[in-house]
Amino acid sequence: MENLKLELKEKIIENLNLEDIEISDMADDDALFGGGLGLDSIDALELIVMLDKDYGIKLSDPKQGKAIFASIEVMANYISKNRTK
């Protein structure tokens, strides 16, 4: 699980072009949205694509993302339970 959390932080920084953010800036339970990362609705869509591309998880309803992307902790738990690749 710790490896997955680290992997997610790396992917989020790279995929969402968070040039000013270091992995050490992201605590596992920090809010991904509405917090210091400055993520917006396009970033949420990009995370949905990332779930599909990298973990084989298809979200049929984008609104599910709100709960799944609450934090790195929540996201990692969801991925570990639902991943198909």
Binding site: N17, L18, E19, D20, I42, L45, K53
Partner: protein, 202 residues
């Protein structure tokens, strides 16, 4: 009677140089455009994390505008934006196309898709500077000083705006060029077609 209008300030970015009002203010021999734009942004000491999410066309337009407006007291947000180029958003269109070419690896990127229109660059600038006046992005073969002069002049003379950010912002792969200027009632160089051509070509 028509107001006399001036080119208050201008910025050119090309050949790895940023030129503000005729003076080179940043130069770096970067191999890639994205690296040069990143260095120029860092050099400007502007704090705006959204810059890194933009495509190269938006970054170029944003930087040129930023250099013009960063030390400029522009409480007036009634500034129109009139840009043009010849590659439209082709640079980003290609990136997006690449992401949907393979049916077995079909993952279109929303973050790339949002930049598949050239006028998004104007949107980014307008958000940054809270500009709420008219804006338009035209696609021409080359910088058309006659058209720009007439359009920019008309916007101010008809009181649609108090100033106009005009210019040419073009990106096609590693080929890029920005020539952005602020037209207003203040300045030294008169806003004429001839002067626009002189500034663009020199």
């Amino acid at each position: 009677m028509d107001k006399k209008l001036y080119i208050q300030s201008y910025c050119k970015i090309k050949n790895n140089e940023v030129i503000l009002d005729g003076k080179i203010i940043f130069k770096e021999d970067s191999r890639l455009l994205k690296d040069f734009l990143k260095s120029a942004f860092k050099n400007s000491e502007i704090s705006y994390s959204k810059f890194f999410k933009m495509d190269n066309l938006c970054k170029l337009a944003f930087l040129a505008t930023e250099y013009i407006l960063k030390d400029f007291e522009h409480k007036n947000t009634n500034i129109a934006v009139v840009f043009s180029n010849n590659a439209s958003s082709l640079d980003t269109d290609r990136s997006y196309q690449d992401s949907i070419n393979d049916i077995d690896n079909y993952y279109p990127s929303p973050a790339v898709f949002v930049y598949t229109l050239p006028n998004i660059s104007i949107g980014e600038i307008s958000i940054r500077h809270q500009l709420k006046s008219e804006n338009a992005f035209f696609v021409f073969d080359n910088y058309n000083a006659d058209f720009h002069h007439c359009y920019e002049n008309s916007l101010i003379q008809t009181e649609k705006s108090d100033g106009v950010l005009g210019g040419w912002v073009n990106v096609d792969s590693e080929n890029y060029e920005a020539f952005v200027y602020l037209v207003s009632e203040y300045g030294i160089m008169e806003h004429t077609e001839k002067n626009l051509i002189i500034l663009y070509k020199n």
